[in-house]
Amino acid sequence: MHALAVSGLQKVYEGSGRRVEAVRDLTFTVDAGELVCLVGPSGCGKTTLLKCMGGLLTPTDGEVLLEGRKVNGPPPGMAFVFQEYGRSLFPWMRVAQNVELPLKQKGLSKSRRRELVADALESVGLTDAADAYPWQLSGGMQQRVAIARALAYEPQVLLMDEPFAAVDAQTRADLEDLVRGLWRERGITILFVTHDIDEAVYLGQRVIVLSSSPTVVREQLKVDLPDERDQLHTRVAPRFAELRTHVYEQIQAAKRGAGAVKTDTPPPR
């Protein structure tokens, strides 16, 4: 059984006489413990897709299965990390309280909650910031808090919606390594949405390339880079360049609206 299975997903927005088909027909699966990156041209309905998967939007057609159970409404086995970290953390709560709040909703005991919060904050390197308010932290640190909140929730699948689009390049590199580190340590399943091709190839075990809106899956690409990756060496590896060039071409073709262009998947080494 797949951790996450999306089949025939379609989302049409209807309102004031306009009918916009954001997502046409999406089918893909994510296995347990996988790190999959979704990448597509800007405005291709990535966020719509993610919200349908997270149960925040009801799809027009098709379905999303989380560990075999149909998603209708936000499932307890899924955690979200949003792009807008500043608007996703509650500014009236301290860091630890932000991380703890969803756990209270889950009905966990106080000692268990404290354990999970401490553990999550430690793994993102923010133990010292537990009593700070989110707005006292830098953008990158705020996004770490959001990641800690998602980790403490112990989801089966972690959905990340362009989480690093609003932080500076250096912080972004750190956060990418953090996500990869957490994934390898904890064996969580991550679906990572981004518009950054390099980021998708650097992070993912598999990259799903989407077409422009109305969205379909254009290609699924296995990233056959070694599991040990680091910013310095991976990004200059010849294979990395090949893969990113390939994804780049696919996205450019998608932007032009070209159909299934026959650019062959670069052969594995």
Binding site: L56, P74, F80, R87, F90, W92, L101, P102, Q105, Y133
Partner: protein
């Protein structure tokens, strides 16, 4: 220490100057209605004895507290309901705009008809005037909950009462406090007015009583006491607000530093 002294100087300079001008300008006054400040100050301790504070100031403050608290509870509760549901808002909005436009003092005779002339009437008058700014501000605050925060709450299963206490009310609290602040000054005005109509004690009653018995310096002291009371309440309000909205002021300050 020096900075504290300097701040104190800044705060006190203008009031001191105004009092000095009043003092000098009124010193040779022979007008019965404009007695010298010197005379007013001499009368002050004779009029505002401990007994009077208990018999007149305390009832006024209690009425104000009662009416204000009632307005706060009703305003926030109704405002939250109206702000949360679009349909309720559509139904209520025209009525609210009308009721808000009615000047509260005009309600005093009306409320007297069914609430009598005792404390119930005064508390009702104060509450009926104070409730509007609180209610309307709460509606706006509740409506303006950030969409990303709302989605975050939804995705983590925060709903029902938890959503109210952890998301909606804290998020609306800066607006709610703005409403409470407006309501406080309206409340003081209505406290005095309601006591002027039909009362046997209270600050408003006392001031009118002095005026009717031509105890003009005494009347002026009553006005000073009202001013001081208003000032004191405003300081207390500010202290409470600064504590309750510490996060909001911090957030604003940090947003100013890094746009």
């Amino acid at each position: 220490m020096r900075r504290v002294l300097l701040r104190l100087l800044f705060v006190l300079a203008l009031p001191a100057l105004l009092v000095a001008i009043w003092w000098l300008a009124s010193d040779n006054s022979t007008d019965v209605f404009w007695p010298p400040l010197r005379t007013i100050m001499r009368t002050f301790p004779d009029v505002w004895t401990a007994e009077r504070l208990q018999d007149d100031v305390l009832p006024s403050v209690l009425r104000l507290t009662g009416g204000y608290a009632l307005a706060a509870v009703v305003g926030v509760a109704a405002g939250t309901v109206i702000g949360s549901y679009r349909r309720v808002r559509a139904v209520c909005e025209p009525v609210l705009e009308f009721l808000r436009a009615v000047p509260p003092p005009v309600l005093v005779p009306v409320i007297m008809l069914f609430a009598g002339i005792d404390d119930t009437m005064k508390v009702t008058v104060i509450a009926s005037g104070c409730v509007w700014p609180i209610l309307l501000n709460t509606v706006e605050g509740v409506r303006a909950v950030d969409s990303v925060m709302a989605e975050t709450a939804r995705s983590y299963g925060i709903k029902g009462p938890a959503r109210l206490t952890h998301l909606v009310l804290p998020s609306a609290s800066p607006q709610i406090f703005a409403g409470l602040r407006q309501a406080l000054s309206i409340g003081i005005i209505l406290m005095v007015i309601s006591e002027m109509f039909a009362a046997s004690n209270g600050l408003g009653f006392t001031v009118v009583q002095f005026q009717r018995s031509f105890a003009i310096p005494d009347m002026w002291t009553g006005i000073l006491v009202l001013g001081l009371l208003g000032f004191l309440l405003s300081v207390v309000f500010q202290l409470v607000e600064r504590r309750a909205l510490a996060w909001y002021h911090g957030l604003r300050a940090s947003a100013r530093r890094s746009p």
